[in-house]
């Protein structure tokens, strides 16, 4: 995946999210006080190779060895052949292009139209194998100098994904951060042949469904839209996911009308609803200011239509905060 890796690293915008510090206090309520909006260096991209290596290790050795450094152990050097990798890559892209053209005749995304129109529940991300983990990027505040650690690996029996780590709200000593302590898991945007940007179209669904098992900590679910406008690259829609803890699987249903709009990590005064026709990625963030270990086990993530849910948008704009909207 050499070509893809190089392309991806060049295509991502490494945007340094401005810290909510004394230098810019006037941008509004510091509601979501963390940098989950910026896709910075992907911490666990080499983590997938290390997790394959360590699946036979003992339980304790796991957590020390799955550090996000690109160290290959000497006995398991994979075959690196640059030309072969590039050739494979090109073949793969052409195959995807062919599939894309052929699927266009069958129906949207290769499924017949009646199936797509009548579908009410769709599984978007599932965790049944290691290749499913590759679709996610895991970040923590290590990228800004903090001390939280986060890892992603397959759960038991390869039936779920386990996101675990330690949160530390010790602020990095860089002179401008007042607070810190967040961990995030973000999905990669869907790509077509030749890494063309694609988006999810969930316009016929109205609720997000997650089957998770947590440890009682509150998480935040963020949805990003697919857009070409640069000003909108750091904007996302978020809502909270409260885990119960305990040995039972928990089904979390969040209607899309509940997601509030935030820009660069701060909630905006002018709210409008999430439009579902071009969704790029979804992410989970933990930043609850409590130091300690955490874990979240995810079974699958899907979207469905809840026929009983008729609300369009949960937050109305207030004339005090936005007099211009009410003229």
């Amino acid at each position: 995946m050499a070509l893809v890796h190089r392309f991806l690293n060049g295509a991502y915008i490494f945007r340094h999210c401005p810290k909510p510090s004394a230098s810019c206090p006037f941008l509004g309520t510091r509601f979501a006080d963390y940098c989950s909006s910026s896709l910075q260096k992907p911490v666990a991209a080499p983590g997938k190779t290390s997790s394959q290596r360590n699946s036979e290790g003992d339980l304790q050795g796991h957590h020390q060895r799955e550090v996000a450094l690109d160290i290959t152990s000497p006995e398991e050097k994979p075959e690196v052949s640059f030309d072969k990798a590039i050739k494979d890559e090109i073949k793969d892209h052409f195959r995807r292009l062919k599939d894309d053209l052929v699927n266009h005749w069958i129906g949207p995304e290769g499924r017949p139209l009646h199936e797509v129109l009548l579908e009410q529940a769709k599984v978007v991300w599932q965790f049944r194998g290691k290749e499913d983990l590759d679709k996610w990027i895991v970040t923590s505040d290590k990228t800004i100098g903090g001390r939280s650690e986060v890892f992603l690996k397959m759960g038991k029996n390869n039936q779920s994904a386990l996101l675990y780590g330690t949160l530390s709200s010790e602020a990095p000593k860089d002179g401008e951060s007042g607070r810190s302590g967040y961990c995030a898991m973000v999905a990669r945007s869907p790509r077509g042949p030749f890494e063309r940007k694609r988006a999810y179209d969930w316009s016929q669904f109205n609720t997000l469904y997650l089957r998770v098992r947590g440890d009682g900590r509150p998480w935040m679910v963020n949805i990003r839209e697919d857009t070409d406008i640069i000003q909108r690259k750091n904007q996302m829609y978020s809502y909270f996911m409260f885990t119960r803890g305990g040995p039972y699987w928990q089904e979390v249903k969040i209607p899309f009308s509940k997601f509030f709009f935030s820009n660069q990590g701060r909630i905006r005064d002018a709210q409008y609803q999430l439009l579902l026709d071009k969704i790029s990625s979804i992410g989970f963030t933990l930043a609850d200011k409590v130091d300690g270990p955490f874990f979240l086990e995810i079974d699958f993530i899907g979207v469905f239509t809840d026929p009983a849910h008729t609300e369009e948008f949960a937050y109305e704009n207030s004339p005090e905060l936005n007099p211009r909207l009410f003229k």
């Binding site: 339980l59 304790q60 002179g175 119960r244 803890g245 305990g246 200011k289 300690g292 699958f300």
Partner: protein, 446 residues
């Protein structure tokens, strides 16, 4: 209270006298007052050049002070080199008293008493915000209102359109926002008094007031969105905390919580005796029935400890579960039709009108073996859990015939494999597992 050395007082009064011509001294009363602290605080106003190098080394809050207008006096500093921030002496006085709300309030009021013009109030407010956590008042709204009260009123309100266009008194507005922000991060909702204070100090169109409006709006919107609320004041008693945690985890309301063992020596030392930790368990009637029907040929496992977070406290629990039965052994209980002649006990109606009425996900959900009971104990070793099993046997007599295997692993919070065994050693009898499980626990629960 730290007694001032004579040379320190002399140095301070010397610099105090030296800054006379600058016209910055507004406190005529100096050495007349009997309390040394008054000398210190009064002369600190003018002795800012003395404090400035100290401030640079110890805290970052001195940067924003408006007393930087005084040019630094190049006098060498004598006296004990204690790195204290400006005004920190006010909080030092209460060292002999307990760090509680009354002392905090007294320290804050001491600032205003001998300092009519409230010089350095911005610094003082930042310092007080930092000290709030030590004094345990970070969630007290009255204290935040008191801090906002330190600001001089009506001075920072913009009076002309040009003043309101530019950020009028930016440092003070930042300070006001910092107070509100600390309130927000601790989840304290401001009240009418806060609003009145903010209007009096900054005016209605200021940024602190805007933040206050936003806080009121979003706090009230998100106040009750937690479907599993945990009370803010968690019980300190470990048994009560365990009961709360177990009830939090178990969705079935008909479950019964049983205390199998209370911590001993509660009255003598106040801490739980390590040999007799508390054991609290929970079990629902469905789980009891399932355990009674469990095949004695299959072992059941005690797994744990797993972590559960209640606000900011982490408690650990263990579960008693069995492996999933392979599909051929699963039996579906059939209720014969004659059981109830009034209405059918089982209905298999197709509710879907057509293809679009299928709301099920096209995925095989993760299935795991049934959980029979959950418990929270003070210690995580096999002896304590064995006591739990013995206590469970009283209500579940079938447990006596079923072999119990203890699978105690490190506390990473992952629920263990049922059958794959990739990362688990093959489950031996309880004895052999105990040694390496205890080692792993000691490594894992550091």
């Amino acid at each position: 209270m730290r007694q001032l050395r004579l040379r320190e007082v002399k140095a301070l009064s010397r610099s105090h006298a030296a800054s006379w011509p600058l016209g910055r001294n507004s406190n005529p009363r100096r050495s007349d007052s009997p309390r040394k602290s008054r000398i210190l605080t009064a002369s600190l106003r003018a002795a800012v050049p003395l404090q400035a190098p100290r401030g640079l080394h110890c805290s970052a809050a001195a940067h924003n002070s408006d007393s930087w207008l005084v040019p630094p006096w190049p006098e060498p500093r004598k006296g004990p080199t204690k790195a204290l921030t400006l005004h920190e002496e006010l909080f030092q006085q209460t060292l002999e008293g307990a760090r509680d709300k009354a002392n905090f309030v007294r320290a804050v009021q001491n600032f205003g008493q001998h300092n009519v013009h409230k010089r350095g109030h911005v610094d003082f407010i930042y310092l007080a915000l930092r000290k709030m956590r030590e004094y345990g008042v970070e969630r007290d709204l009255a204290v935040y209102n008191l801090l906002l009260d330190i600001f001089p009123k009506e001075v920072f309100r913009p009076r002309s359109i040009f003043q309101s266009m530019f950020i009028h008194y930016p440092r003070q507005q930042e300070c006001g926002i910092a107070v509100l922000e600390q309130m927000e991060s601790h989840g304290v909702m401001p009240n009418k008094e806060t609003e009145f204070l903010l209007i009096q100090i900054f005016g209605r169109k200021s940024y602190p007031m805007l933040k206050y409006v936003r806080m009121k709006l979003w706090f009230s919107r998100f106040k009750n969105i937690n479907p599993f609320p945990v009370p803010r004041d968690l019980p300190q008693d470990p048994v009560d905390l365990a009961k709360l945690g177990l009830r939090h985890m178990e969705p079935n309301l008909s479950a019964t919580v049983t205390i199998y063992q209370m911590p001993s020596s509660r009255d003598s030392t106040g801490t739980a005796d390590p040999t007799e930790p508390h054991i609290v368990g929970i079990q629902t009637p469905d789980q009891q029935a399932a355990l009674a029907h469990h095949n004695p040929a299959r072992p059941i496992f005690v797994e744990g400890p797993f972590s559960l977070w209640l606000r900011d406290k982490c408690v650990y629990y263990h579960i008693l579960r069995a492996d999933l039965l392979p599909p051929e052994e699963r039996e579906v209980e059939e209720i014969p039709e004659e059981w109830n002649l009034h209405y059918p006990m089982q209905l298999d109606l197709e509710y879907g009108r057509s293809g679009w009425d299928d709301y099920e996900f096209d995925i095989h959900k993760v299935e795991e073996g049934p959980v029979f009971a959950i418990c929270m104990a003070g210690a995580h070793d096999q002896a304590t859990l064995a006591k739990w099993i013995q206590g469970l046997q009283e209500t579940n007599p079938a447990l006596a015939q079923i072999p119990v295997v203890f699978r105690l692993a490190g506390s990473t919070g992952e629920l263990l494999a049922s059958s794959s065994g990739l990362e688990e050693p093959p489950p031996p009898e309880g004895q052999e597992e105990e040694e390496d499980s205890q080692q792993r626990q000691q490594q894992g629960q550091s």
